[in-house]
Amino acid sequence: MKYSAGSVWENKDKYDIAVVGAGHAGCEAALAAARLGFKTIMFTVSVDSIAMMPCNPNIGGTSKGHLVREIDALGGEMGKVIDRTFIQSKMLNRSKGPAVHSLRAQADKSDYNRAMRQVLEGQENLDIRQMEITDILTEDGHVTGVQAYSGAIYRCRAIVLCTGTYLKARCIYGDVSTYTGPNGLQSANHLTDSLKALGIRMYRFKTGTPARIDRNSIDFTKMEEQKGDERVVPFSFTTDPEKVQIDQVSCWLTYTNEKTHEIIRANLDRSPLFSGAIEGTGPRYCPSIEDKVVKFPDKDRHQVFIEPEGIHTNEMYVGGMSSSLPEDVQYAMYRSVPGLEHAKIVRNAYAIEYDCIDARQLKSTLEFKNIEGLFSGGQFNGSSGYEEAAAQGLLAGINAARKLQGKEGIVIDRSQGYIGVLIDDLVTKESHEPYRMMTSRAEYRLLLRQDNADIRLTPLGHEIGLIDDERYKRLLKKEKMIEEEINRVSHVNVGTSDKVQKLLESCGSTPLNSGTTLAELIRRPELSYEKLAEIDEKRPELPLDVIEQVDINIKYDGYIKRQMRQVEQFKKMESRKIPNNIDYDKIESLRIEARQKLKEIRPLSIGQASRISGVSPADVSVLLVYLKQ
């Protein structure tokens, strides 16, 4: 039933903040807003799909693991929930440097969304409402409420949009297309028009997911087993490491082959991607199998990971083979893979198209530049991935709350965290595809490690009000222990005794000619803090996380200092603020393209200006010269 004009019903519950969407961004946004003391309502088209994982059954991975750690360090929820619901966990890149170690956990999908829903339901100040939002209500450029499909109005003072992939969503495989959100859920077809009416520029992006196959139809003997780590590291800094040492399930590795590729090539004309039926732009980092075959014709095989969707289901996710080919081709293609000869498809692969925004319309606080009180996060902002979404949702929720508190918004800069890199990239750089976090996007990644996310961000989380005093004090204590221990080993002298030389020899390290310090020995690549325990008699008993920090900080001291100097340079450029009222039309030597981009994005600093695509170093020098005058 729609209320007719003049008889619109208004909800009288007086909410402060409305969160539209209950995916990974929406959950974090709603929790942050409610925890900061604001009456919050979270809208979703389906309460059953709260915190749903419609694609891969895992949380974390390279650089995404960093994001989860940072979310946790700031007081977000994702890390805690996955620690309770994972079924396998791995620290990736262990053989490489500490900066690129990344945690990835296979989730039990249904456990995960149930656990997250429980947290939301138990949260004070937070109401959950199943309802499609169709309109954003504004007055004089600031938001006043949302209107639902029923016509009902919910007044609020700030809004966080986290609509994910639901806006005008369309799922496609072959020539079949349905106007639904992921997993056949109801899409949200009306909000886009309201946003466009507010002057918001929209993009159409695309992504995809592979098939889910019945475990009973898979021959695992033809695949390589992939086990979890023997010792699991939790995501959350608050999780007791002993509690995550569980019995883990396995994933399986198999490969495509020439036959698979032939099937795909022979049917390319039936793919909506190549026939033009899909207009959205897809991500380069998770290409469909048909994309891979076309783009990398020299590769005679591609890896396929078979991952369980949970403990209570037989569905297995076929990682590496997302597709939008027709149903019959999917059967043929999957069944050409060793171990999948008799595969029974439970859900087929599909591509999904959806509306999202050009995030350059946002400030670094994730508030719309032109609409006060309107914030947004997640895939709606043109990103991809659960972790990217959650990170933005958290910040958007925090900043919506701070807006109402009359406080300045929180902006994490590129030297403070991956979250900072993510948001800065989104609001500054032009993007033609869903944005995925990558370690290579972080310039200062030696400093932005997953192991020190708490040291980097928990003080900020405490200041914001999402970290309690007890946790903050624990952090301060940890920092003190680290500092004292680094200081101690830097002053412990090591002689050339037999014991020392023997230990060095057993580690394949050159014996000492003369005395040195323990710290110097830790710097040797083949040695570590722990390996030197024998010759460090006065070593205090320390927690593992403290030892880890001592080891990394000493070992990579030179590199870390170098990056810190680069950060100083970076901060200098960031601190060169560009006045709000600057008139780029008056700077005549700017190239037209640069002028347009600068006018559009209105960067806060010279640093941000220099990262805008289309603004050249020459333009930046022109800008600097102009500002000096």
Binding site: V100, Y559, A618
Partner: protein, 472 residues
């Protein structure tokens, strides 16, 4: 922000009689219209047309001219531009400029047109620098090198190196981001090989920086020798007229004399020094000190030995300088009866090499050419000139297609890139994990990008996606 209108004579001042006065800026047309009389007002003429008319100063016609009218943005500077082609000789060109300056333009600073072109996005940094080099270059080789830089050969060379660096970085990064798909097993060895070759190449460009400077500024050449060995006579022969005081009294040249000569298109800035010998005379002593100082900073040392006298310890001292520099030993006064020959000098050098200080690290002695000349009879001079050319224009430099770095900024960026590549090699040798390599690789990439004026932007991400098959 208004762009002031600037003007200058944009051709070098020569006696050819033709010269161009260039005016650039927002009011270029207005300024020009104040001094020009022709069929149409210049501000009303179409862009990129040539107009014929007269330049007036008050009530006086100065010259009959062709005027090129060019509207922004398709001009050298990217601004409204007028070029007045004058025919009345140097004096007249100057008067035209004066008239223009009286009517609203201000004199352009050296390189200002180029600077504006750069600021207006008309050229990248290395091109802008090359233009300034063209303007100030003093000889043919320097000019050629500037022109080839302008055409982008420097850019091409650097871009080639950058491409290799970004490939490796992208490979490492894609493996870090997708460790389950892309392996780095055994990659360090492969990278090591390529990093060495990249380092070599950058080193080569840095070396060319010195060649570039030498071409632009000339070879700092210092003549040393005992008093009365014939240094000043040599200088006089080379320059073609008496500049240094030449007498038979030892120690006549108490200070240093500097002269520029052009040799096969190379500029030699020749410094004649006081003779080097042990002396108690305070003034002469100062001259000797200075001579030694110059010798330290020279690009080329010409060591003159008097063939008519036996070698003594003063010669020893002088000959030792030749070990550290590009040097040529001239055995002068071969017109007189010879008391010393080439072989003796070579033997002397070998003895000196073996007994020199720090001889623990003795390597191979550098090959130092010894040429017999007679400054008085002007014999052996041609041989000497050829040898200079050979030393500085050695086989591996050919002036047509080689790139020369001629500018201090570029050189320092190259050095930064080189340092970063060395750090990559060190990280490999120290057995550091692979993610550390890419940090320094990116630094090198960035430093090289500064030379061509290119920002890093999304280069790495794009390379990763276009080269390597990633992800789920």
């Amino acid at each position: 922000m208004k762009k002031e209108t600037i003007a200058a004579i944009s051709t070098g001042m020569s006696n050819s009689g033709i010269g161009i006065v260039r005016i650039s800026g927002d009011e270029a047309f207005e300024v020009a219209d104040r001094v020009y009389r022709g069929k149409h007002k210049l501000s009303q003429c179409g862009t990129h047309t040539i107009q014929y008319g007269y330049i007036w100063d008050n009530k006086e016609v100065i010259d009959q001219v062709l005027v090129m009218v060019m509207k922004a943005p398709h001009t050298f500077t990217g601004e409204d531009t007028i070029e007045i082609d004058c025919h009345g000789g140097t004096f007249v060109v100057r008067r035209v400029l004066e008239a223009v300056l009286k009517n609203g333009a201000r004199p352009a600073e050296p390189g200002e047109f180029t600077k504006r072109a750069f600021l207006n996005g008309k050229m990248d940094l290395s091109q802008a620098e090359a233009v300034i080099d063209v303007i100030t270059s003093q000889n043919d080789y320097a000019l050629k090198s500037s022109i080839s830089q302008l055409k982008g050969s420097l850019k091409n060379r650097i871009n080639d190196i950058r491409k290799r660096i970004i490939y490796h970085t992208a490979y490492i990064e894609s493996a870090l981001d997708d460790p389950e798909h892309i392996s780095l097993e055994g990659y360090a060895d492969q990278l090591r090989k390529d990093a060495l070759s990249i380092t070599d190449e950058i080193g080569h460009l840095i070396d060319s920086a010195d060649d570039g400077r030498i071409m632009k500024e000339g070879i700092q050449t210092v003549i040393i020798g005992k008093p009365n060995a014939g240094k000043s006579s040599l200088l006089n022969v080379l320059t073609g007229y008496d500049r240094a005081i030449v007498t038979d009294i030892e120690g006549t040249t108490r200070d240093v004399l500097e002269e520029q000569i052009s040799l096969h298109g190379l500029n030699l800035n020749i410094i004649d020094t006081a003779g080097i010998r042990e002396t108690d005379d305070i003034i002469e002593r100062m001259g000797v000190d200075k001579a030694e100082q110059y010798a330290e900073n020279a690009d080329l040392l010409i060591c003159v030995v008097d063939a008519s006298r036996q070698l003594d310890e003063n010669d020893d001292r002088i000959l030792q300088f030749t070990f550290h520099k590009k040097s040529i030993i001239l055995l002068n006064k071969t017109d007189l009866e010879m008391a010393v020959n080439v072989e003796e000098i070579v033997n002397k050098l070998i003895t000196l090499w073996k007994t020199r200080e720090n001889s623990i690290n003795s390597g191979k002695m550098p090959e130092i050419p010894v040429i017999m000349i007679s400054a008085k009879e002007e014999k052996g001079i041609r041989e000497f000139e050829d040898k200079v050319k050979e030393l500085f224009l050695h086989g591996d430099i050919s002036f047509n297609d080689e790139v020369f770095i001629t500018n201090a900024r570029q050189k320092s960026d190259l050095k930064d890139a080189m340092d970063s590549m060395k750090k990559v090699l060190k990280s490999i040798d120290d057995g550091m994990p692979e993610d550390f390599y890419s940090i320094d690789l990116m630094d090198a990439y960035e430093a090289l990008g500064r030379i061509t004026g290119e920002a890093v932007g999304e280069d790495l991400i794009n390379e990763i996606f276009s080269r390597f098959c990633m992800g789920k």
